[in-house]
């Protein structure tokens, strides 16, 4: 997991290659959507965790996992998947650390995305 890339280049190039002629760059569109969509969901995840609403934690972790998977954010995807599984099973040992890790990993993905978008 620790060796996994923050942003998998194979996935980002595949996204870039999805751009149809004359259409806006799919990679840039998807990464921008990710940057707008994810922070509110992160907040929802933290709030749900603080409120002890495990069902909502599960839902939020599950949807974050999906978005992370789509852009090739491997490490974020990994921690979200772990949290998703824990919340689903109800075994919450180590879940607090995972909620924090989701935030940390998102921060890394965000920087990587901004670098990538700036590079064009």
């Amino acid at each position: 997991m620790d060796n996994a890339p923050v942003l998998d280049e194979a996935v980002t190039s595949a996204l870039r290659a999805l751009t149809s002629p004359g259409e806006p760059d799919v990679l840039a569109e998807v990464l921008n959507l990710f940057l707008t969509e994810v922070p509110p969901r992160l907040a929802r995840l933290r709030n749900a965790w603080a409120a002890g609403n495990i069902e909502e934690v599960h839902r939020a972790a599950h949807s974050l996992k999906g978005s992370a998977g789509n852009i090739g954010a491997r490490r974020l995807h990994g921690v979200c998947a772990e949290l998703d599984a824990k919340a689903k099973s109800g075994d919450l040992a180590g879940a607090a650390a995972l909620v924090d890790a989701v935030g940390v990993e998102f921060g890394k993905v965000e920087s990587a995305i901004r670098r990538l978008l700036a590079a064009g």
């Binding site: 149809s20 599950h62 998977g69 789509n70």
Partner: protein
Amino acid sequence: MVPLQVLVADDEAVSRTVVGAMLKKAGYPVIYATDGEQAFRTLDSEAPPALALLDWEMPGLQGPEVVQRIRKKEVQTPTYVILLTSRDSSADIVQGLRAGADDYVTKPANEDELIARVSVGARVVELQAALAERVRSLEEALANVKALQTLLPMCAYCKSIRNDQNYWEKVETYFTQHSNVSFTHSYCPNCYERFVRPELEALEDARAAQEKLRRG
């Protein structure tokens, strides 16, 4: 063949955009729905898309519920529905297929797999449409055959035929409407002697009489 329209329903914009871009690149016109309700309304409309990719987990109506609802309505060519899911337990998959989905793809979707499955769906839809059209034309032909097998009331003198609306029609009109027969008008040798020749002779006489008058 016109590419078939595909509905992509997913509440997550990232996933929706990626799947939509894959389909557009493969040449499919794409329309979107951002939740289950909207997906249902689109699929329940007068001209629903031929194919649909529905996310399993959406707020409000979930993918399987959307399928279950649209399957209640009988249509000639039902939309081919593929569920997008991150669930991969066989119990979940069975539940999705039982709800009426035709196939499923696990998320995040692999481009080649997604497009291959969508093209299988397109094949099924086209086959179904072709079969429905064939059945329709066979039914029409059968109706005509039945019409021609009945006892036709025909006028003993003028040979007109009484149609279903109790209206007397010429034989030509009746058969043109109820079969693929068309008529070209001619005359038989007997009728030539009986009708055509006397008419021609009368014409010839009239012309000769006129000529005589003109010369005084």
